[in-house]
Amino acid sequence: MQPTNTKDPEYYHKVVDCQYACPAHTPVPEYIRLIAAEKYTEAYIVNWESNVFPGVLGRTCDRPCEPACRRVRVEEEPVAICRLKRVAADHKGDVSEYIPVGPFPPNGKKVALIGGGPASLTVARDLAPLGYEIHLFDEQPAGGGMMRTQIPSFRLPASVLDEEVGHILNMGIHTQFLSYVDSLRSVIDKDYDAIFVGTGAPRGRNLNIPGRDEAAKNIHVGIEWLQSVAFEHINKIGKRVIVLGGGNTAMDCCRTARRLGGEQVKVLVRSPFAEMKASPWEKEDAMHEDIPIMDNHVPVEFVVENGTLKGMMFEKVHPVYDEKGKRSLVPTGEPHVFVEADDVLIAIGQENSFPWIERDLGMEFDKWDMPVVDAVTYQSTIPRVFFGGDAAFGPKNIITAVAQAHSAAISIDLFCKGASLNERPHPMVNLVSQKMGIHEWSYDSMVTVDKRFVVPQADKKLTLSNRKIEVELGFDALTAWKEAERCLNCDVQTVFREPLCIECDACVDICPTSCITFTENGDEADLRTRLKAPAINLSQALLVSDILPTKRVMVKDEDVCLHCGLCAERCPTAAWDMQLYTYNTAKAGA
């Protein structure tokens, strides 16, 4: 193999699995160390810089970082990254001195944001301090978008959301709430320099099977129903409730139903339990609230008697996989199952919808009738109209919306300056030795064997009685410290400098996880079989040195490196060093 090019900023970035997996590339180990040092405010700001909504995301994030956590590869459970983020938000002090406050010197450019959800708010936060005049339009009475309408208060208290939305709106954003934009042309006709569409995926999918229309009074589309609950238009539901669907919206629906009078709430889902879209922890929380999840049940009809909904009929299926792994659900042949219900909530997915964009504006739409959006610049085919969040590429999650909005904000800034959108600013990276003394590092290199700590929850009796009482209590400071100590500091990189190496083998002998081998060079597939321990995880890179004096190369498998620093401690010539790698994604105005 060729020597690894560690000058490529993505090489060490990839070693920081959590940060790499995060769509917004939040510097996770950095803020976890700050939490361990009880610097909650600073930890909050590290998050805020990157993901804009630490308090919200610390409760509701889909956590792509956690399955990526290195800890999963050396023990069972990842670091509770998401809930540590919440710790930073819960325990922080006054953040006002860190957050830019307007008025900012105007740069004479005006940007319209359509929709007031996480994507639009992120664009607002990125652009307002640069002097842009921001006009935000939303049909709801308050900002937050789906974070407000679809995430129930028992998961995300309104106060947390209000605070973080407030940080942004206080930057001097011109908000126009309760104003539904029904025509893009009307916005284009105004003199905005750029327009950002962050309208989310607002249409809940319907289920047109027999009985749907007769029982319409008791059948609700999940996201619309959740929104009505959030704005207190609905405050009760029948005793027996069926929730259709297996995603996180279904979990929110069933748990909300339990709080509005639903006594026998059941989730029925077509797919097998293990393949449901909902996050495992959300399924657990639902089941903890006595909500059975019945998988492999396909809805057949709504059963209506004398104009009243009686329940639903389901067909039982089982999954069959073809040789390509594609799943089909095949009826088992068992008799249909009848489930009684007073109300049914349909949470089987949601879609983008752009009835308000005139098709004669010159904007190109694809074969699914979705606007064509560039995957890097987020620009539509009308140069000054940009998209981001669920509106750009369909429903994903908050953190993805934030990440896309950061990119869109960069594009809008470049566009307004008349610069090329394709010459994008680079990430800010840095590599700094952590050596403090002969055997001392400026990070906590000890590796704890503690198992993941469980976040305590409020008493179920209490939380089920009031939909506004938050279920999770969050870590206390001591537990947060212990959980933070589980972090392996993957951003402290093992940096190897071959001119200094005397090939004494000390690093090979000390490495607890057998990551390091000195051997004859070969191609990657061959090298992977010849290492001290087999390197079968192809998603993890090999760090390969240049040819050493004995004609061998040093090969380090990044897979299960604990970043304990022992290789560098046992290295007599400092050929190994532990260096903190900082990777900050570019921001608008950089």
């Binding site: 005397i502 083998d505 000390i510 321990a533 022992l566 401690e569 046992r570």
Partner: protein, 350 residues
């Protein structure tokens, strides 16, 4: 400094026939200097014992005093251990061995512990053909007392402070050959591909197996002008052969060239295969081995690999005709023949 090694290990570490991974043969974390050759030798011992499926409780590790003699704390944490007085490891090993012949005796010593204070003990253990492995971690200096020249420092070798050693060095391999050692090898801590099979063969040998392992002292003897530095040894190493250790049960799959290859059968049927034999060297001929050592010395080379192997069944227990069983397993009736037997003996002496 980190005194604790993290508990996590590679999830795919191979296991041996006993179900152990190499980490089960580790000891506590070394406190030797970073980069010390001794740590590599410890790691080679761990790997050799792992590969040979040795039950850790079947090994007794013994040492004297010195950097080298600290190492038994850093390998085979589940084995028996005895850290003796300076230079007195051979006599303790002799006592332990005579009391219990069922254990594998692994003596670890240094150049000071063997070639100076312990020389008297060492030579007698060799000539008695005590059944043990005797490893000298040889760095040519007194590392624990700031790096003075030891008795194995080569004449003309320069110390870190710049002084040149005016005295002739003791060649431990030559001495062991002279005294009738039946297994003599020399190796380098920085060459595990050679060292591990050598340790495995030595542990399989019955009789006195001697390994002199050059092990650079990174702190006091890794300077330019030293003949025990990483660079010097790498530049001057000359191998008698490359070798594979083939355990008894294993099918032999490698191919061997007649003329340049040789095979040695150990007492239990295991094989040591030697490839690319040095010219004019016969591993089973003591004269040829002594000559090879002398030639290397003349050429300022460090001869490594197996140097001499002589099959023997006359280790110390055979010579002394001792009990087949460990003394601690003998019951009173076996140890004390009784009054009648005493009468009989006495009668025979009248």
């Amino acid at each position: 400094m980190s005194y604790v090694r993290p508990k996590f290990r590679h999830p795919l570490l191979p296991t041996n026939d006993l179900g152990y991974t190499a980490s089960d043969y580790e000891g506590s974390l070394s406190t030797l200097c970073a980069g010390c050759g001794h740590d590599s030798i410890s790691a080679a011992i761990v790997q050799a014992c792992f590969e040979m499926n040795i039950e850790p409780h079947k090994v007794a590790k013994l040492s004297g005093i010195g950097c080298s003699s600290k190492t038994p704390a850093y390998f085979l944490g589940q084995s028996h251990g005895f850290n003796t007085v300076h230079g007195r490891m051979p006599s303790v090993a002799t006592g332990a061995n005579l009391a219990n012949r069922d254990l594998i005796y692994l003596g670890v010593s240094g150049d000071g512990d063997t070639a100076s204070i312990g020389m008297g003990q060492f030579v007698h253990a060799v000539r008695r053909n005590l059944n043990m492995v005797y490893i000298v971690m040889n760095n040519g200096c007194y590392g624990l007392t700031k790096g003075q020249d030891s008795a194995t420092a080569d004449r003309g070798s320069k110390s870190k402070a710049g002084s040149v050693n005016p005295f002739e060095s003791i060649d431990l391999c030559g001495l062991a050959l002279e005294l009738g050692a039946t297994f003599v090898g020399q190796s380098f801590s920085g060459d595990k591909t050679q060292l591990i099979p050598l340790i495995k063969a030595a542990m399989n040998h019955i009789g006195f197996a001697f390994l002199n392992v050059i092990s650079p002292c990174v702190t006091f003897n890794n300077n330019v002008g030293s003949t025990k530095s990483y660079d010097y040894v790498r530049q001057h190493m000359e191998a008698t052969s490359t070798m594979d250790f083939v355990p008894m049960q294993t099918e032999i799959t490698a191919t061997y060239d007649a003329g340049t290859d040789a095979a040695i059968t150990l007492h239990d049927g295991s094989l040591v295969h030697l490839h690319k034999l040095a010219e004019g060297w016969d591993p089973s001929n003591r004269m040829s081995a002594i000559q090879a050592l002398q030639h290397a010395r003349n050429d300022a080379k460090v001869l490594t690999g197996l140097i001499y192997y002589g099959a023997t069944d006359t280790e110390l227990h055979e010579v002394l005709n001792t009990s087949d069983r460990p003394l601690n397993s003998l019951k009173e009736n076996e140890l004390c023949p009784g009054k009648a037997k005493l009468e009989e003996i006495n009668k025979g002496l009248r």
